[in-house]
Amino acid sequence: MRTYEVFLKREGKDEFRHAGSLDAATPELALVLARENYARRAEGRLMWVVDRADILTADESFLAPNVDRPHRHNDGALVAARRRAQRESS
């Protein structure tokens, strides 16, 4: 058995979203079982089934250096203030 991750896309502009996971003995079984386990009530119009081992993953240590970067969280307040000041002075 291998573990597969199931993604569904609804009709329209929604992106594919993670629906759940399942265990299956073969890729074909993963596909047919995913259909019944996650899409039998027409939850999606398109489905991706991906072997979990094929997903590239990054752990916390890989992502941690990005946590403490307040300067990358720009709420735009500073730029807005400068634009306002410029408008008023012109």
């Binding site: 058995m1 073969t26 074909e28 079984l29 047919v32 079982l33 259909r35 019944e36 386990n37 039998r40």
Partner: protein, 245 residues
């Protein structure tokens, strides 16, 4: 278009097959070999029950009380084949029957999909969409098992037991003789050869000359296993005929 008695007999035999196949499949709820399969098999069972409802409506007209018809009929009015009355308590047998039955079912729906009666045609076309998936499901499971020593042995034993019952399915019964081919397609017996070819392709060539229907097989006669499944599916309605569920 009004259906005549022989055409209704063809559809009733199919409806009773679908009903009992669905009932028998539901026995795997909670006890299939793994969780994902548990859900998939029960869902397929529901599809078969849905086909039975559609066929019962064709047989009896849209004002038919389906529950009364499906659960309240006298046992002498049933026309199921014995294959679907079998318990199949071993998963290998349940899986092999799933494949054998659905392959036959596919051919039956194909025969009905060319019907001159548009209601029959509409039911068949919808069912074929579901059957395409049912067959893929059965094949995927068998593909995963074939080649494993224990699986091959158990599948072989199941085939030995079930093939005689499965060939008997293709006898539609006396009441169906003379049914209009433009309405219900070619006689059921003519589908046995294409079905055998499919079985040979899936499981290897079988010695068909020695595969005979079980003695006394007749859609008008109930097999020894009928009462057990019939009693079980009537458990609620027997307790309270007015129950809704």
């Amino acid at each position: 278009m009004k259906l005549g008695a022989p055409e209704r007999a063809v559809l009733l035999a199919f409806a009773d097959d679908e009903h009992l196949m669905g009932q028998r499949h539901t026995e795997w709820i909670g006890v299939a070999p793994f969780l994902e399969e548990d859900l998939a098999f029960s869902s397929i069972a529901q599809d078969e029950l849905g086909h039975a409802v559609a066929l019962y409506e064709l047989v009896g007209g849209h004002d038919t009380e389906i529950d009364a018809y499906a659960f309240g009929r006298d046992r002498s009015a049933w026309r199921s084949c014995w294959l679907v009355e079998q318990p199949c308590t071993d998963w290998a047998a349940a899986l092999v029957r799933h494949w054998l039955y659905d392959t036959a079912e596919w051919l039956r729906w194909e025969a009905l999909s060319g019907s001159a009666d548009e209601r029959v045609r509409a039911v068949a076309e919808r069912a074929l969409q579901e059957e395409r998936y049912h067959r893929r499901h059965a094949d995927a499971l068998l593909d995963a098992l074939v080649g494993d020593e224990e699986a091959d042995r158990r599948i072989g034993e199941a085939l030995d037991h079930l093939l005689p019952l499965a060939v008997a399915l293709f006898d539609a019964g006396q009441e169906a003789s003379g049914a209009d081919v433009t309405v219900v397609g070619p006689p059921l017996v003519e589908l046995v050869n294409p079905w055998r070819a499919e079985v040979d392709r899936r499981f290897g060539p079988r010695p068909w000359s020695s595969v005979e229907p079980p003695a006394g097989h007749d859609r008008a006669v109930r097999s020894q296993h009928f009462d057990e499944v019939h009693d079980r599916m009537r458990e609620v309605i027997s307790l309270d005929p007015t129950a809704t569920w």
